[in-house]
């Protein structure tokens, strides 16, 4: 990134922090948390971490003084948060954190893989819409792949966050008021659970929660397990029992052509066709699996259907984030250094209609002239901009900062 751009971003971030310190809400028991910051600088990013604060004042002074590009805090509570050695920090517990990232979603996106990426020459900073093995501008061979924000994936990620919220409430019995849903500021959503029940869980125990949510290790083939978790199939039941019943319903209601596309074999589909109405009624009123197995003509077919349905109910949460009991996570109210968007706590009643590219904008009012280095469509605050490489364009500040921070534009 050019020095001029870096300086401009830092100046704008500074203005944001001076005006919006109130927007930052320190996490509960912040005196027991470790904080980490990435300063604006050229070259390699180095995090300043093991910081601890006793008061909001101390924290805000630090931020205003440093003007970091990114701010993190620990999901963990420590006796001595500013100790550098993990063994001496004195781990007291940690919030349960979930991360739903576009990375884990884009495989099933209807847009092409190339639309989710762009390429950048590490030598001259030139960017490209297509993969190149060497830079046609400077002949450099160090070309790196970077993500391009996909609105479809972001919207899917939000749906998954909503699904996860429901599972935490229904299956895990966690009170709404202990769950915070946060837009990361770029490509994902975080859910923070601050409930006394989960704080002391170790990594192995969190791994079990991850597997539960990702649907790993479910032993459908064992009748004993099935009888236990799915004694009746009933779309009105709470938690897993209802969720899988609804997924089975949604699957079987599809046309026979769709069922075949979904990987069910001809014989199974024929059986479903014959009895579709009855099956759907049963699922609505509650039915034992024996009845369905009989109608389908085999346990194997039933298991296949359940496996297909299961795939629709699981959530692709990041496994590492949740099992890491020392994780540093973005602090809500601060800015994301790669986008200039806010890491934003979304009130639950707003989650459904939340639009990150309108609701998480940190910069408003001004306009800036920039030179874009990429040809893409960009929608910001409801406006659509058609960018073409090499063009000089005047954009609203938030959109301009986004492109500058992504490294796909320069100041004129």
């Amino acid at each position: 990134m050019e020095a001029k751009t870096l300086e401009f971003l830092r100046k704008k971030f500074r203005e944001y922090y001076l005006k919006n310190l109130k927007e930052i809400s320190l996490p509960s028991q912040f005196e027991k948390r470790e904080f980490g910051f990435i300063p604006f600088r050229h070259g390699k990013t180095v995090m300043v971490r093991h910081k601890g604060f006793k008061s909001f004042r101390e924290f805000s002074d630090f931020i205003v003084n440093l003007i970091p590009s990114d701010v993190y805090y620990s999901s963990a509570y420590y006796k001595n948060p500013s100790e550098e050695k993990m063994s001496e920090k004195g781990w007291l517990g940690a919030d349960l954190i979930f991360d739903i990232d576009c990375d884990d979603i884009q495989d099933s996106c209807q847009k092409s893989p190339a639309e989710h990426k762009f390429w950048r020459c590490l030598d001259c900073g030139e960017t490209f819409d297509e993969n190149v093995s060497f830079c046609p501008v400077c002949n450099g061979s160090r070309v790196e792949e970077d993500y391009w924000l996909c609105e479809l994936c972001l919207s899917r990620a939000k749906d998954e966050a909503l699904k996860l919220f429901t599972i935490l409430e229904e299956d895990f019995g966690i009170n709404q008021k202990h769950i915070t849903v946060v837009f990361s500021g770029h490509r994902g959503y975080h859910l923070h659970v601050e409930d006394e029940a989960v704080i002391s869980l170790g990594a192995d125990e969190r791994k079990e929660i991850v597997d539960y949510i990702r649907g790993v290790g479910l032993n459908f083939k064992a009748k004993k397990v099935r009888r236990n978790i799915l004694s009746t199939l009933d779309i009105s039941k709470p938690s897993f029992q209802g969720r899988i019943s609804r997924a089975i319903y949604d699957l079987l209601v599809e046309s026979s052509k769709k069922l075949l596309e979904n990987g069910l074999d001809r014989k199974t589909v024929k059986k479903i066709e014959e009895k579709r109405d009855e099956i759907l009624t049963w699922l609505s009123n509650g039915v034992e699996e024996e009845v369905l197995i009989k109608v389908l003509g085999g346990e194997g077919r039933w298991i296949k259907i359940m496996e297909k349905a299961l795939a629709k109910t699981v959530i692709p949460i990041d496994t590492v984030v949740t099992t890491d009991i020392h994780r540093l996570i973005r602090l809500p109210g601060t800015l994301h250094g790669k986008t200039g968007l806010k890491t934003f706590t979304i009130p639950i009643n707003m989650l459904e209609e939340f639009d990150p590219l309108t609701d998480a904008l940190a910069f408003k009012d001004e306009k800036v002239k920039i030179k874009v280095k990429i040809s893409r469509m960009l929608r910001f605050n409801g406006e659509i901009f058609k960018l073409s490489k090499g063009e000089i364009i005047t954009l609203p500040l938030a959109a301009a900062i986004f492109l500058l921070a992504r490294g796909v534009a320069s100041l004129t």
């Binding site: 229904e170 299956d171 895990f172 019995g173 966690i174 029940a197 989960v198 002391s200 869980l201 170790g202 192995d204 125990e205 791994k207 079990e208 929660i209 597997d211 539960y212 649907g215 790993v216 290790g217 479910l218 032993n219 064992a222 004993k224 397990v225 009888r227 236990n228 978790i229 004694s231 709470p238 938690s239 897993f240 029992q241």
Partner: protein
């Protein structure tokens, strides 16, 4: 943990569950604070005898052969059964070998668990809530998922260590934060909890020496007691040797194992919880050095989640007899370090990259030495 004053536990129940707070209260109420002179008096002889027997049982009875019938407290005065438990802990502390402490904790936990399986659900709830702070209650659904429900936190704290798939959270009926379970499964989880609880008791007591205990005790009583303890100690040591012998095998020489494998081996033998990766590497090692499948399976009998069928399958899998047909090797030293299984290197370790090479190297040297000794 809230301490309820009332209890529905009878004296007989306390005899079955002498690790409970109620049992401790009972002892306090009935005997006050006991001094050693009192404990060593003839009145207490039956209790001392029972305590010694408890300890002996913990190293002689085969855990998986325990049955509910074998432990009818009616056969013995409840107060003897109750008091002999803390006394046994004190005696073991005097002996000061953590191997026996672990055996004792495991044995007592298994015993209690077998009794709990057949206990009234209400009683299970009381014991789990009062002693271990579990959020547990009677199931409110139909009983098809089990008679009891516990908070997922209490479930995970004990079940995450059990390796069978059947115990994974995803294979449980979980609604509103509560896991629905049968009495049998709850008893199994409580076994984990009780074992940890008893092990922690040993740590609480701290180190006890003969000098501290016997200060001011009458000479004769003192001698008698010391004799008892020495006899017990000798018995235990002999038993430890027997156990080691039971587990010594043909030409495999445990004394040549590298430090990491030695640790894993001893941990498994003493019933300690060894992570999966540790079991894997130990098993692969033992297979590679030529130990038989049966012998390897036998080694794992002391582990808390032992299931012969599953263990055998896993051992056979690592041996390449079933499954992918690959005969696995133990992790190399770098990976052992990553997983925290390397206790630190000795001289020979410096020269090798895999625990197996260590063993073969030492073995070779020793064979050479033997040959040299036997030269004409």
């Amino acid at each position: 943990m809230s301490r309820l004053v009332e209890t529905s536990l009878t004296e007989q129940d306390l005899a079955k569950y002498p690790f409970t707070v109620d049992a401790a209260e009972y002892v306090k109420k009935k005997f006050g604070f006991l001094k050693l002179e009192e404990v060593l008096s003839p009145d207490f002889k039956p209790i001392l005898d029972r305590a010694i027997l408890r300890i002996k049982d913990s190293v002689t009875l085969v855990i998986k052969e325990l049955s509910y019938q074998a432990f009818k407290p009616e056969k013995i005065e409840p107060y003897i059964e109750i008091l002999s438990f803390p006394l046994a802990i004190a005696l073991l502390k005097l002996i000061g070998d953590s191997y026996f402490e672990k055996r004792f904790a495991l044995f007592e936990a298994k015993k209690a668990s077998i009794n709990l399986e057949n206990e009234e659900p209400e009683k299970i709830v009381e014991i789990a809530a009062k002693n271990f702070g579990w959020r547990i209650s009677l199931a409110d659904f139909d009983n098809s998922h089990g008679e009891l429900k516990i908070h997922f936190k209490d479930y995970l704290k004990n079940a995450a260590k059990i390796r069978e798939d059947e115990w994974k959270l995803i294979n449980q009926f979980l609604v509103g934060g509560e896991v629905y379970l049968t009495r049998k499964k709850i008893a199994r989880l409580l076994e984990e909890e009780i074992r940890k609880h008893i092990e922690a008791k040993f740590d609480e007591v701290g180190k006890v020496t003969f000098f501290d205990v016997l200060e001011g005790v009458d000479e004769e009583v003192r001698k008698e007691f010391l004799d008892e303890i020495n006899n017990l100690k000798n018995f235990l040591q002999a038993r430890k040797k027997d156990i080691a012998k039971e587990f010594s095998f043909g030409d495999v020489k445990p004394e040549f194992f590298p430090p990491c494998i030695k640790n894993l081996y001893m941990d498994v033998l003493s019933g300690k919880d060894v992570p999966h990766i540790g079991r894997f590497t130990l098993t692969a090692f033992l297979i590679q050095v030529g130990m038989g499948i049966d012998e390897i399976v036998k080694i794992y009998t002391s582990t808390t989640d032992f299931d012969e069928r599953i263990t055998r399958y896993q051992v056979e899998h690592i041996a390449g007899i079933v499954g992918g047909k690959t005969k696995y090797k133990p992790l190399n030293c770098g990976n052992m370090k990553t997983h925290g299984l390397c206790p630190g290197e000795d001289k020979t370790c410096m020269k090798v990259k895999n625990p197996l090479t260590y063993y073969l190297r030492i073995l070779k040297t020793s064979l050479k030495r033997e040959k040299w000794k036997q030269r004409p």
